[in-house]
């Protein structure tokens, strides 16, 4: 493939990765931003979203679009409630102590993963996309006849992949509006800035924490529902998103929402482009190297505020 079309294909693939990554990492970032806890089980909430999407779509058995829309509503709700429940039952009991939270969420990771293995099984299962048509993309050249468009071999995307990118943008915009323009967002930000003071002003901090933890998991689940028609639901699919989300959140700055989006686009696009032109392993190596560099030279992340 020539360089131009090749780069365009790589960019499009990278954009899909970035879109899903932004959603998943945003869930992790929101939880850390408000609650100051690190959720190691985040990738499993993502996986659970995909598995529930499969379950909903295959139980309904109707038109793929119906199953998909139902999954897009039901999976995040279920996963979010489960996470909120885990917060009330586990994290609140250990008072969000950082070390114990990490250990507890590692435990949660294994419980969710193995329960899925025991019930859903070890197979990868597909969910049918609501619509999926191949769109051939044109490229231009300056030949003898001047400027001309042509359709290079293999340069294409599917309508569903474009939809994933658009949907992620819409969801992130909605989240931004929620955080900055609504009372719920105000309450969350107040809790983030000073939870003791928020409590003194009558904000039910415990309930806010449970809701935020649920919201974070629901965002991961949404990302998974969007990706599952492209990839497939599998009980081990939570590992990579967890790693990449951590990379994104560290580079973007823990708890910084704009930083998370910027880092997700950066990592997603570079993953797409580097893995197309060089190798997927190199893309992972560079992402991990970037984390190390950020931790050394700018520990608070690109957009994070340094500790006062």
């Amino acid at each position: 493939m020539e360089f131009g079309p090749h780069l365009m294909l790589a960019t499009l693939e990278g954009a899909v990765t970035a879109a899903i990554l932004a959603l998943t990492a945003m869930g992790l970032s929101v939880v850390f931003g408000v609650m100051r806890v690190v959720n190691v089980a985040h990738g499993e909430f993502y996986m659970l979203g995909a598995v529930i999407a499969w379950f909903v779509a295959s139980t309904l058995g109707a038109h793929p679009a119906v199953g998909f829309v139902a999954a897009l509503v039901i999976a995040p709700l279920l996963v979010g409630s489960l996470a909120a429940l885990a917060d009330v039952l586990i994290l609140q009991r250990i008072s969000y102590d950082p070390e114990r939270t990490i250990v507890a969420t590692i435990g949660l990771l294994y419980i969710i993963q193995q329960t899925t293995l025991m019930t859903f099984g070890p197979d990868a299962r597909p969910v049918e996309a609501p619509f999926n048509s191949r769109i051939a993309l044109p490229w231009f050249e300056f030949g003898d006849g001047g400027f001309a468009l042509y359709w290079p071999w293999g340069l294409s995307i599917t309508s569903y992949k474009l939809f994933v990118i658009a949907a992620a943008v819409v969801i992130l915009a909605a989240l931004w509006l929620l955080m900055t323009r609504t009372k719920a967002g105000l309450v969350m930000r107040a809790t983030q800035q000073d939870s003791a003071m928020a409590q003194a002003f009558g904000i039910p901090v415990a309930r806010v924490y449970a809701l935020v933890f649920g919201l974070g998991a629901a965002l991961a689940a949404m990302g998974a529902v969007l990706i599952v028609p492209i990839q497939q639901a599998h009980y081990l699919m939570g590992g990579d998103p967890l790693l990449l989300s951590f990379i994104v959140v560290i580079i973007g700055g823990l708890g910084s929402l704009p930083g998370t989006v910027i880092a997700a686009v950066l990592i997603g696009m570079s993953d797409g482009i580097i893995s197309v032109f060089f190798s997927p392993t190199l893309a992972k190596i560079l992402a991990t190297l970037a984390v190390a560099m950020v931790l050394v030279f700018r520990p608070q992340g690109l957009m994070g505020k340094s500790a006062a």
Partner: protein, 431 residues
């Protein structure tokens, strides 16, 4: 795993009483019933079954398990081995090489297994076989890798029930070069099994006057594939694809989306679609393409009576799916290897009059002495020839074409097409 009631501890007493009570005449009259009476010991023969229950080989593991259970039931119904029932001791290896070696060790030292059996994924075989050799545990793999016949492993490791990649690709190359095209791009999983494809197919196609114009290695745990496909050169006439892992459906789907209406010829190893319904949405572009099959998934017009009975015993319908769930598609092209290997173990143990672990070496010598294996209920996939020196079996290979969403047999190779010169003589190694 449920133990058969047959194998409860009071078994030997009961069978002894029966023997005394009924006498030889009565015995002869009831040979249709399973009985294990003439053995010196009626304790079961314990076959350690290293199964990929989890990890990237899980869908193969599920069907290897079903096939193994069906084969053992048949063997036990016919009186077991040397008058002793066969018991399968299954242990998950997580499709992981390190865990595989531990499982083999457990078979030998804790679970009192007579032999180890059933491993598929080549990296697990390569990781486990040295430990089996050290512990002197006969290790019957069902893996397809060329690692047995290449001489990489040891005298305790045998592959008598399934052919190896080198022989398979050697038999495929003439078909690809003569019918599909000479400029081939190979896409394969980046581990031992895929490297066998890479090394031996590129040699075999060169001998046919073709060439491999690009080789694309993809990690078997990969979940998104479009990014690899731009490496396919424009001059490619045939894409040769073989993929494993949980994301094979995504792989094939994205391959179709990449090419759209202007695809080159495709030749795949059915591994790319094992346990996947070929009528899944997005796979329509496969119509007219060709696949290697170890054993045809769809019941063919000229289906043998053996294939029919084998299908029924394992619980597979005419479309290659489970009789209880049409969406649960089998790994039909590979799992016959478990059935045939167990029958070879039975034949080997009977030839060696195997009674216990002291005779493990005798069992291996008995299997090494085998040669012709005619098609039959013990070998439903087809006739085979075993090479005792290289510990590898050779058999016919099938090429199918997708027609109306089904795999229809287009060509069957001969065993001679698959033979190559020996690379090792394991019989010269000491036990």
């Amino acid at each position: 795993m449920t133990r058969k009631r047959l194998l409860t501890p009071d078994y030997s007493r009961r069978s002894a009483l029966k023997t005394l009570g009924l006498g030889a005449g009565a015995l002869a009259a009831t040979t249709a019933l399973p009985r294990f009476v003439q053995a010196q010991s009626s304790a079961p023969i314990r076959i350690g079954f290293q199964v990929h229950r989890t990890g990237i080989g899980a869908s193969y593991g599920r069907w290897y398990d079903r096939t193994t259970q069906a084969a053992v039931k048949r063997i036990n119904d016919a009186g077991g081995i040397n008058g002793r029932p066969v018991e399968i001791v299954a242990e998950d290896d997580g499709t992981d090489a390190k865990r595989g070696a531990e499982v083999v060790e457990k078979f030998a030292t804790q679970l009192n297994c007579d032999i180890g059996f059933g491993t598929l994924f080549s990296h697990v075989v390569i990781g486990s076989a040295p430990r089996a050799g050290e512990l002197k545990l006969p290790y019957f793999v069902v893996s397809e890798g060329h690692h047995v016949a290449s001489g990489m492993l040891n005298r305790y490791t045998l592959q008598p029930g399934i052919t190896d990649v080198k022989s398979q690709v050697q038999a495929m190359a003439p078909f690809v070069a003569n019918n599909l095209g000479k400029k081939v791009t190979m896409i394969f999983p980046d581990f031992a099994f895929g490297h066998d494809h890479r090394d031996y197919f590129s040699k075999a196609i060169a001998e046919q006057g073709g060439e491999v114009v690009a080789m694309i290695a993809i990690p078997p745990t990969e979940t998104s594939f479009t990014k690899y496909f731009p490496q396919i050169p424009r001059e490619t006439e045939v894409v040769y694809h073989v993929m494993v892992g949980p994301a094979v459906l995504t792989f094939v789907k994205e391959l179709g989306e990449f090419f759209g209406p202007s695809r080159p010829e495709l030749f795949g190893f059915i591994d790319s679609l094992e346990a996947v319904d070929i009528t899944s949405p997005g796979l329509e572009f496969l119509e007219g393409t060709y696949f290697w099959e170890g054993n045809p998934r769809y019941a063919q017009e000229n289906q043998s009576e053996y294939d029919k009975a084998y299908r029924e015993a394992v619980g597979v319908d005419a479309n290659g799916a489970s009789v209880s769930d049409a969406k649960d598609v089998s790994t039909y092209a590979h799992m016959f290897g478990c059935w045939e290997t167990l029958n070879i173990i039975k034949a080997g143990m009977e030839a060696a009059d195997y009674q216990g672990p002291d005779q493990r070496a005798a069992l291996i010598e008995a299997v090494e002495a085998m040669t012709e294996m005619p098609e039959g209920m013990d070998h439903p996939q087809g006739p085979k020839v075993f090479n005792g020196k290289t510990h590898q079996v050779f058999g016919v290979q099938y090429i199918s074409q997708v027609k109306d969403g089904k795999l229809v047999l287009a060509h069957t190779t001969s065993i001679d097409d698959t033979l190559y010169p020996d690379e090792v003589d394991y019989t010269t190694q000491s036990f």
